[in-house]
C-alpha cells in the first residue's frame, strides 16, 4: 500500500487549465507525476461518460480543470460541466465508486502554482483513499 501510485486522468480545458498546466512548466514548479493530461477544447465538452469510462477502466482519480467562473472561452461551458458532474457524483455514489475521486478545479492561464498545488493535494488525497475498488474487487 505504501508504494501505491495512483493513476489520475485529467481533462484540461484548452484555454485555461491546459495553459495553466503549461505555466506550471514554464515556472518549473514540481508536482507529483501521477496526472495523465488529456486536452479538451472546453471543460463543457467533458461527457460524464469519459469520467465513468476512466473509473471503470481503473483510473484512481479523475481531474477536470476548466476556466474560472465567467472566464470560459465558450461563455459558460464550465458551468455546464459543473452541473453534469454534480449529477454524476450521485450516480457514482450509488455505484459504490465513490464520488470523491473526481476533482473539479478552476485554473486560469496564469495559475501554474494553483495547478501544481492541486496536483499535489489530489495525489496525496487519492493515495490516502487507496486504489480504485474496481481494480481490487470487481476484477473486470
Amino acid at each position: 500500500m505504501d508504494n501505491f501510485e495512483p493513476k489520475i486522468v485529467g481533462f484540461l480545458c484548452n484555454w485555461c487549465t491546459y495553459a495553466g498546466a503549461d505555466t506550471a512548466g514554464t515556472l518549473r514548479i514540481q508536482y507529483p507525476p501521477n496526472i495523465r493530461p488529456i486536452r479538451v477544447m472546453c471543460s463543457g465538452s467533458v461527457d460524464p461518460a469519459y469520467v465513468l469510462w476512466a473509473l471503470l477502466r481503473g483510473a484512481d482519480g479523475v481531474f477536470i480543470g476548466g476556466c474560472r467562473p465567467g472566464d470560459c472561452h465558450y461563455v459558460n461551458g464550465n458551468y455546464k460541466m459543473r452541473r453534469r458532474v454534480t449529477v454524476l457524483r450521485s450516480i457514482l455514489k450509488t455505484l459504490g465508486l465513490g464520488d470523491n475521486r473526481i476533482w473539479v478545479k478552476w485554473v486560469s492561464t496564469s495559475e501554474g502554482k494553483i495547478y501544481a498545488n492541486t496536483m499535489s493535494k489530489m495525489t496525496a488525497y487519492i493515495k490516502e483513499l487507496g486504489p480504485n475498488p474496481i481494480n481490487k474487487y470487481w476484477s473486470i
Partner: protein
C-alpha cells in the same frame, strides 16, 4: 492502415535532461501503427523540420506525432511542416512532454515512463483523427475600436489611413481620454493638448471614421471577420445635428456639480461639454443632476437654445454595426484614495491624487497651472509626493508596478518648482524606475536643478494638524524618522483598469487578469492580440503604460487589423461539431446547450444541423447529446476513450 511517424525532440536539454529521449523513441517504434520513430535535438529548427518532411515522403506516413513542447508553442509549426509535403495538417498531433512532463518532474525514470504514456495516448488519438479542411468565410473589412483615449485614437487613425472603415465607440461625450487631462508630458514636457488635439480633430473629420461618442457596446455576436455589434447611443438630450456648439445653454444652466474631467476639483454645469477642445464639441445633459429631468422644473437651457436643439424626450437608441475586427482600448482609472485608511481615506481635501495634481498644474486647468490647494486656495509651499500608493503592495492592494508614477512625480515636482520657486518638494519612494528613452536623464535633471528632496521610505501615516497635513515617514537610507508639515500631499495612486472593463470583457468573450487588465495572447510574442480571434488590445487597458508605449501598441494593434483585412477570406478552424443524421433522434438538447446559436433543429426531418461558420467548436453539444450523434471533430468520444485506455490500461 496507419503509418505513423513519431518525432521526439530534445529541446536542447529542456526535455532530454529529464526524459530519456532515445529510450522513448525506441519503445515507441514498436507501438502498433508506428512505422518510424526517431529523436533529434531541435525538431522545430529548419533541419528538424526538413527531416520530418523527408521521412513523411520516404516512409509514406499518413500521420505524425511530434513529442515536444506544448501545442500552443508549435502545433501550427509542425502542421504546416507536414502540410508542405502533402499530409493533411490535422493528421499531425503534438505530445506535450516538456511543459507538462520534463519541466515539472525531476526523476528521469518516472518522467520517461510518463512521456511514453503521453506519446502512446497521442498516437491513439491520431489514429482516429480525420483529415479536415478549414472552412473559409468572407471578412467584413471594417473595424470597431472601443475607447477613444490616445490608444483608440491612434489605432483608429492608423486603420482608417490604410483605407478601412472604422467605428470608434467612446463612452464619454468626447474622445481624448486621460491624456487630455495632463499638464505637460514627460519626458519632453510638451503640452498634451497641443499634440493630441490635432489627432482628435483628424478623427472627427476622417472620411473613414464613424465616431460614436457617448455610446457603449451593448452586445457582440459572431466571430472573427464577422462580428455583429449592438451599440447603445446614450440619450444626451441634445440634438447634436442641430446644436451649433455656441455654449449659451451651459452658461444659463443653474446647476453646479463636481467636474469629472477636472477630477472633482471644481464644478461643472448639468449641461456641459467635457473640455473646450472636445471632439465632438457638443454638450450633454447629465440626467442625474438636471433639475428638469429630476424635479420637473427649470428648462433654462431649452429656453435659451436658439437652434432648438434641446430635446428632453430623447431616449437611448441602438445601432448595429458589422465589423471584422475589434480593438479594445478602454484605458485606465486611478485607485480610489478612500481605500487607503492610513492616508486619510480620502477625507482630507489637501491630500490629492496624481490626476488632480495634473489638473492643478495644467495651464488650461482650473488654477491655470499654478497649484492652489483645494481646501483654502493657498499656494502650497511644502508639498509631499508619495509614490507606489496601492502599487507593489501584494499584502494589501496590488502587487504590480503602475509604471508611470516615478516619471510623473518627478515631472510634477519640476513643474511645481517652476511656478513656485520658493516651494519645497519632497518625494517618498520605494525604488525609482525610469527605464524609458531619455527618462533617467529627465529624472537626474529634475533632482539636480530643482532640489527635489527624494526620501527612500514609506509614509506610515498622514493626519490633519491645523491647516497642515502631518506626514510621518522614514528615511531608510539614513535610518531617521521623518516628520513633515505639508501644505499639500499628492498620492501616486495605483493605476487600475477603467470601470466596467470586466463586464465588457465578458460581453466580448475576451479574458482579463485578476485585476481586470486585458490579457494578451502571448506576453512576448503576441502582445497586441487577445486569445479570442479577432480582438486586439491597445493602451493602458492591457496594463499600465505611458503615452509612447500606448501609441506604439496601438499602432501595433492597427497593423494586425490591417494584415487581417488584407485577406479576402478567413479560414475557420474545422475542429467543430458535426451530426450523424442516422443516429440523431432530434431531442434538441444540443440546441439548448449551444452558447452561439449555431445549431438548428430541422423541423421537417427532426435532425440537428450545425452552422459550421458559427460553431466555435467548444464541444458542449457533444457532451449533452444522449445518442452520440453529435461528435466533436477530432475530439470524438471514441478518441477520448482510446486515450484514457492508453493511460490506465
Amino acid at each position: 492502415m496507419n503509418r505513423i511517424g513519431v518525432f521526439v525532440c530534445h529541446c536542447g536539454l529542456n526535455i532530454a535532461q529529464t526524459v530519456d529521449v532515445e529510450k522513448l523513441a525506441n519503445i515507441i517504434s514498436d507501438y502498433p501503427g508506428v512505422v518510424y520513430a526517431t529523436n533529434y535535438i531541435y525538431m522545430c529548427s529548419d533541419p528538424g523540420q526538413d527531416m520530418i518532411k523527408e521521412i513523411v515522403k520516404e516512409k509514406k506516413l499518413n500521420g505524425v506525432v511530434v513529442a515536444c513542447c506544448s501545442p500552443t508553442m508549435h502545433e501550427t509549426t509542425f502542421r504546416n511542416t507536414v502540410a508542405s509535403v502533402g499530409l493533411n495538417p490535422y493528421r499531425c498531433e503534438i505530445a506535450n512532454i516538456r511543459e507538462q512532463c520534463s519541466w515539472v518532474h525531476k526523476d528521469k525514470k518516472i518522467a520517461t515512463e510518463k512521456a511514453v504514456e503521453i506519446v502512446k495516448a497521442t498516437i491513439e488519438k491520431l489514429k482516429l483523427d480525420k483529415s479536415l479542411i478549414p472552412l473559409s468565410v468572407p471578412i467584413t473589412k471594417r473595424a470597431l475600436v472601443i475607447g477613444g483615449g490616445i490608444a483608440g485614437i491612434q489605432a483608429s487613425l492608423d486603420i482608417a489611413d490604410s483605407g478601412y472603415e472604422v467605428v470608434l465607440v467612446e463612452r464619454n461625450q468626447s474622445i481624448g481620454g486621460h491624456m487630455l487631462q495632463l499638464s505637460e508630458t514627460f519626458p519632453t514636457l510638451d503640452c498634451p493638448q497641443c499634440i493630441a488635439t490635432p489627432k482628435m480633430v483628424q478623427v472627427g473629420q476622417h472620411p473613414k471614421i464613424k465616431l460614436l461618442a457617448y455610446s457603449e457596446v451593448e452586445e457582440v455576436s459572431g466571430y472573427v471577420g464577422n462580428f455583429k455589434v449592438k451599440i447603445r447611443r446614450k440619450a444626451s438630450f441634445v440634438d447634436w445635428n442641430k446644436c451649433t456648439g455656441c455654449g449659451l445653454c451651459v452658461e444659463k444652466c443653474p446647476v453646479r456639480v463636481p467636474s469629472e474631467f477636472n477630477e472633482l476639483l471644481v464644478k461643472r454645469k448639468a449641461i456641459y461639454t467635457l473640455f473646450p477642445q472636445a471632439v465632438p464639441n457638443k454638450p450633454v445633459i447629465d440626467s442625474n443632476n438636471c433639475l428638469y429631468l429630476t424635479k420637473g422644473k427649470c428648462r433654462a437651457c431649452e429656453k435659451n437654445c436658439l437652434a432648438k436643439a434641446i430635446d428632453f424626450n430623447q431616449k437611448d437608441t441602438f445601432v448595429e454595426e458589422d465589423v471584422g475586427a475589434i480593438v479594445v482600448a478602454t484605458g485606465y482609472d486611478l485607485m480610489d484614495k478612500a481605500e487607503i485608511g492610513e492616508y486619510g481615506a480620502g477625507k482630507y481635501k489637501d491630500v490629492i491624487n496624481g490626476l488632480q495634481m495634473e489638473r492643478l498644474l495644467c495651464p488650461s486647468g482650473p488654477t491655470e497651472g499654478i497649484p492652489h490647494r483645494p481646501s483654502d486656495g493657498k499656494i502650497p509651499k511644502e508639498i509631499v509626493f508619495i509614490q507606489c500608493v496601492g502599487s507593489r503592495d501584494p499584502e494589501h492592494y496590488y502587487p504590480y508596478c503602475s509604471k508611470v508614477c516615478c516619471m510623473y512625480v518627478v515631472k510634477q515636482a519640476m513643474l511645481y518648482k517652476n511656478v513656485v520657486p520658493d516651494g519645497q518638494a519632497y518625494v517618498f519612494y520605494m525604488d525609482i524606475r525610469c527605464d524609458g528613452k531619455g527618462y533617467e536623464e529627465f529624472l537626474q535633471k529634475g533632482m539636480e536643478e530643482n532640489k527635489i528632496l527624494y526620501l527612500r521610505g514609506r509614509v506610515s501615516k498622514l493626519f490633519k494638524d491645523g491647516d497642515k497635513i502631518k506626514v510621518w515617514g522614514a528615511d531608510t537610507l539614513t535610518g531617521r524618522k521623518i516628520e513633515i508639515s505639508a501644505d499639500m500631499v499628492v498620492l501616486a495612486m495605483a493605476v487600475v483598469p477603467s470601470k466596467g472593463v470586466k463586464e465588457l470583457a465578458r460581453k466580448l468573450r475576451i479574458t482579463a487578469d485578476d485585476y481586470g487588465f486585458l490579457t494578451e495572447a502571448h506576453p512576448k510574442l503576441r502582445p497586441v492580440e487577445s486569445l479570442t480571434a479577432g480582438y486586439f488590445l491597445a493602451g493602458a487597458a492591457q496594463g499600465p503604460k505611458d503615452i509612447p508605449d500606448v501609441v506604439a501598441q496601438a499602432s501595433g494593434a492597427a497593423s494586425k487589423v490591417d494584415s487581417l483585412f488584407s485577406q479576402d477570406v478567413l479560414y475557420h478552424e474545422p475542429i467543430i461539431a458535426s451530426v450523424d443524421e442516422e443516429v440523431c433522434v432530434g431531442c434538441g438538447n444540443c440546441v439548448d446547450v449551444c452558447a452561439y446559436d449555431a445549431i438548428e433543429l430541422d423541423l421537417r426531418t427532426k435532425k440537428a444541423k450545425v452552422n459550421s461558420a458559427v460553431c466555435e467548436g467548444c464541444g458542449a453539444c457533444c457532451a449533452a447529446c444522449p445518442s452520440g450523434a453529435m461528435q466533436h471533430n477530432n475530439f470524438s468520444k471514441r478518441q477520448i476513450f482510446e486515450m484514457v485506455d492508453a493511460f490506465v490500461r
